[in-house]
């Protein structure tokens, strides 16, 4: 159902990010750049063992070192828990390599490191679990009393009658995939400056995707009122789903600061980043689906095992969330889902870019590609036949798609990439593959509400200050909000100062995750700007001698739609309102919270086609071309939308082909920017973008999200293209050269045997 595309003056044009000048000239301040008077430098003493009992901790030598100002041990951290079951510093057992045991603050990083070396900890080694397959064996060591069988969390959910649905299917397909542990690899390492030097008041400078969630958990840990914890976000050097919750270093730096009475900076040094980061753990995916012989998908069964590591931070979210996505792309009649979090002696895991869903789509997208083949279809045909459409309601009944451009995306991508001319017609070792995806714009269910708020103050000169609590980790969300406010007020985004990053002044905002920024904070900003405009309307209408309802605000001017030639300057309206006898000030406020009980108000959709070449000698996969089409509702800032698509194609390509946190005996083997591989300039393919605008009826100016919609398509598209190129499937991510070569060689051998037996058969005739 095509909705009219509103004619807009500001939205839809390319705007450079408002903080860009600062960022390109070294003026932007990040947490590691903060210098406070008397600031100390922290260091954490970590366990070298995956599983051991702490027998004794002796910090006396460290404390005696000149320059050491505070030492905190598990005794100092009693009662502080993070995640659902992790004591901040362990009093009994250490449960992973790198487990935090003692914190030190000193007058320099060098002294802190020296002191760390003087801490003596005696351990008694315990048998460990470093593979989730071992952890679920009946005789496995039990890591947590409450987690029987080392299952820390389990979600099981059926919709419809899956057994009956399978029984009615003509074709059933089953397979299994693995995605290995990964690391978010932000440019900015983990860092936190905590200042507890004023009694009862804590100030924390740290990069975050959600200052509110950090504030809440830190305040709870220290039994403080939330308002007494002031979070200063400054700039955030990348988020990628990894900076949504406070980590041990945030609490430890605060503990140290409280003890020393001075600010303390704690920053990851080198390989520590891989422990502090807590990215994605290994996941095993068992998938089963059924379809009728005419190609209609009816039922899906999914069983997932997640390595959650030593503790559960928030991975239970992804187990639940994945269950919601079974029915997001295909209107199936029944489904069965089970997701289990398994404890091991790995560092606690969390998520990597894609939030677990992109990785799940790596498995599901390939599974569907195989099912399509079994049905004698290609995946474009299969997706067009089975994909969701506008008006669809998800199986749990929570979410209805009020706009849906999935099929338009698939068709446009396939046309531009030349799918029909290429699929099945490419030379050996060249392949083409499709990936499709759906992604929520915000979601309720994780929290009771999904609220964002905004305030806008209009100044005498016709410019404005926009106050929001949504962090900008690079996605340009602050500029996006300025564009939305500018559109409403009829001014330019460059007239707007975005004020954000300080919980003392920020309006409430849950944060930047579940792709909620544009939709939720966007609606809040729009409401705030409308409120501000309403406060100006009376004066404008009297100046123009027209009805308030007829006012048009555009290009720094205000006029009546009845008489567009009689314009007055926006700044004049503001000036006359503020500098009037009444002396009014103009402060608009607005908020947005999804009216739903659960689920999402909008979903975005996308399709990507990857074209690859596989080197038969080395197994190296080169991505030659990506074609991406995304229904983002409406592109508020098209070049930023493209940038989001590019970044996610990069990240998806990086994860599917390169990234792996290689674990051995519970230890990260490649904890560096050199050995943890991500592609760089040389490896990046050409990307063609198609932006589809379905104009969502509930989004701000029709916009939805582009925060993670693209990445859910990329991994499966590339993996499907590799399978197409070598005629066999690599079931484990990343598709590292050795994995691809092994599968390709096996496929070659099988093909040779097949050909040989056929030759024999022919000879026999």
């Amino acid at each position: 159902m095509a909705r009219p595309k509103e004619d807009l003056a500001v939205v839809g044009k390319n705007w450079a990010r408002l903080d860009g000048t600062d960022k390109v000239s070294g003026r932007s301040i990040f947490a590691d750049d903060v210098r406070l008077p008397g600031m100390l430098f922290g260091k954490v003493v970590r366990s070298p063992h995956p599983h051991a009992r702490i027998l004794n901790i002796d910090t006396s030598k460290a404390e005696a070192l000149p320059g050491v100002k505070a030492v905190v041990t598990p005794e100092d951290a009693k009662g502080i828990y993070i995640g659902i079951n992790q004591p901040l510093l362990p009093t009994g057992n250490v449960n992973h390599v790198g487990h935090e045991v003692v914190g030190i603050a000193a007058t320099s990083e060098r002294i802190a490191a020296k002191a760390a070396g003087l801490v003596e900890i005696e351990y008694e080694l315990l048998p460990d679990l470093t593979d989730l397959r071992d952890a679920i064996k009946p005789d496995a060591v039990q890591l947590h009393e409450k987690a029987k069988g080392n299952i820390g969390w389990e979600v099981a959910q059926d919709f419809g009658d899956p057994d009956a649905a399978f029984a009615a299917c003509d074709v059933i397909h089953e397979d299994e995939f693995i995605t290995n542990a990964t690391h978010n690899c932000y440019a900015e390492y983990h860092v936190c400056v905590s200042d507890f030097s004023k009694a009862g008041k804590l100030v924390v400078y740290t990069p975050t995707q959600s200052a509110i969630l950090f504030q809440k958990t830190i305040a709870a840990a220290f039994k403080m009122d939330e308002s007494d914890v002031r979070m200063l976000t400054l700039n955030t050097g990348g988020g990628f789903t990894g900076r949504t919750s406070a980590r041990p270093h945030h609490f430890i730096s605060a503990l140290l600061s409280r003890k020393a009475g001075r600010p303390v900076r704690l920053r990851a040094a080198g390989d520590e980043e891989f422990i502090m980061c807590r990215a994605g753990g290994e996941v095993v995916y068992k998938l089963k689906s059924g379809a009728t012989k005419d190609g209609v998908l009816k039922v899906l069964e999914v069983d997932l095992l997640f390595d959650t590591g030593a503790y559960i931070e928030s991975q239970m979210i992804v187990t639940t969330l994945t269950s919601k996505y079974l029915g997001a792309l295909y209107p199936i009649e029944a489904s069965r889902y089970r997701g289990r979090l398994i404890h091991t002696n790995h560092m606690p895991y969390y998520f990597h870019h894609g939030g677990g869903l992109a990785q799940f789509q790596f498995a599901l997208g390939q599974h569907m590609d195989e099912l399509a083949h079994k049905l004698g279809m290609d995946s474009v045909q299969f997706s067009l036949l089975n994909g969701v459409e506008e008006g669809y309601t998800t199986p749990d009944g929570t979410t209805t798609y009020h706009s849906c451009g999935l099929k338009e995306c698939i068709e446009k991508t396939a046309d531009l990439a030349g799918w029909k001319d290429k699929y099945g017609k490419l030379p050996k070792y060249k392949g083409i593959g499709l990936g499709i995806g759906a992604m929520a714009s915000g979601a309720k269910g994780l929290f009771k509400h999904d609220t964002s708020a905004a305030m806008i103050q209009v100044n005498t000169d016709g410019k404005a200050s926009l106050f929001i609590g949504l962090p900008d980790m690079g996605q340009s969300s602050h500029t996006t909000m300025a564009i939305i406010a500018a559109e409403v007020l009829g001014i330019s985004p460059e007239d707007i100062r975005v004020v954000s990053g300080d919980t003392d002044t920020d309006p409430f905002d849950v944060g930047a995750f579940t792709q909620r920024g544009t939709f939720n904070t966007g609606n809040a900003t729009k409401n705030a700007a409308l409120d501000a405009r309403d406060q100006l309307s009376g004066r404008a209408a009297s100046l123009l001698e027209c009805e308030e309802a007829d006012l048009v605000w555009r290009h720094h001017q205000v006029y009546s739609k009845q008489n567009p030639d009689n314009k007055i300057a926006f700044r004049k309206v503001v000036d006359e309102t503020l500098n009037s006898m009444e002396g009014r000030f103009v402060m608009g406020r607005g908020y947005y919270n999804s009216p739903l009980k659960k689920g999402s108000m909008a979903f975005s959709f996308g399709a990507q086609i990857a074209e690859v070449t596989v080197d038969p000698g080395t197994g190296v996969v080169t991505v030659d071309k990506m074609t991406a089409s995304h229904d983002v509702g409406r592109a508020i800032n098209p070049r930023v939308v493209e940038g989001q698509i590019d970044g996610q194609i990069f990240s998806g390509m990086s994860q599917v082909l390169y990234e792996e946190t290689i674990m051995e005996d519970g230890q990260v083997m490649n904890p560096s920017r050199l050995d943890y591989k991500m592609p760089r300039a040389y490896e990046m393919p050409e990307v063609d973008h198609i932006i589809v605008e379905s104009i969502d009826p509930n989004g701000p100016f029709g916009a939805k999200e582009v925060g993670e919609g693209p990445i859910v398509c990329t991994m499966q598209a590339i993996a499907n293209a590799v399978a197409n190129a070598i005629g066999a499937r690599v079931h484990e991510m990343p598709l590292a050269p050795w994995r691809v070569l092994r599968v390709a060689n096996n496929a070659e051998q099988l093909a040779e045997q097949d050909a040989a037996s056929k030759r024999k058969a022919v000879a026999g005739e």
């Binding site: 450079a16 990010r17 903080d19 860009g20 000048t21 600062d22 960022k23 390109v24 000239s25 070294g26 003026r27 932007s28 301040i29 990040f30 590691d32 750049d33 210098r35 690899c185 932000y186 440019a187 900015e188 390492y189 700039n235 955030t236 050097g237 990348g238 988020g239 990628f240 040094a269 080198g270 980790m473 690079g474 996605q475 340009s476 070049r639 930023v640 493209e642 940038g643 590019d646 970044g647 996610q648 194609i649 990069f650 990240s651 390509m653 560096s672 920017r673 050199l674 991500m678 592609p679 760089r680 300039a681 040389y682 990046m684 990307v687």
Partner: protein
């Protein structure tokens, strides 16, 4: 381990600083001179966020250089790239073409790109890749970065009096 007084010229300003031999150039720039535009990343020469430009404009990994080795030499950091009150074409095009997202790697990318364009205003695709392979960017995936560099090269060629012919 006596400290040594060195003379270091940064962005045209001469500084006399007492440094310990084990201090890296990065540490001195950020901690002693408070020039925090140059970022601290992996500190092992692999991510490129600490890149500054040396005397010949070459890219220098300041995390893997000893400050004492820079006695009597000069260098440029991201704070010194701007031309008066205006952005340098590399900065301008990074901004204009969306090659800046989170901004943490941006100083390193700008300095790596400038090192290239200072000596080559008609870079080929390979020249750009070569110049940028030592620098990480998780957000942009390098795609818009490469576009911005090509666009900056056009501006610089025009300045040289040549024709912006869309070469490269």
């Amino acid at each position: 381990m006596a400290k040594q007084i060195i003379t270091l010229t940064v962005n045209g300003d001469e500084h006399e600083i007492a440094v310990a031999p084990y201090q890296t150039l990065l540490e001195v720039l950020r901690d002693d001179l408070a020039l925090t535009g140059t970022k601290r990343g992996c500190t092992a020469g692999s991510c490129g966020v600490c890149t500054v430009n040396g005397e010949k404009g070459e890219a220098v990994l300041s995390c893997c250089a000893l400050a004492v080795e820079w006695d009597g030499r000069s260098l440029t950091t991201v704070e010194g790239v701007q031309e008066g009150n205006d952005l340098h074409p590399v900065q301008q095009k990074f901004l204009e073409y969306g090659a800046v997202q989170c901004g943490f790697c941006t100083p390193g990318l700008i300095m790596s790109a400038k090192a290239l364009l200072d000596v080559n205003t008609s870079p080929s695709e390979k020249d750009i890749n070569e110049a940028m392979a030592g620098a990480i960017c998780r957000c942009t995936g390098h795609i818009k970065v490469k576009i911005a560099i090509r666009e900056a090269a056009k501006v610089l060629r025009e300045r040289e009096g040549g024709v912006a012919d869309g070469q490269a």
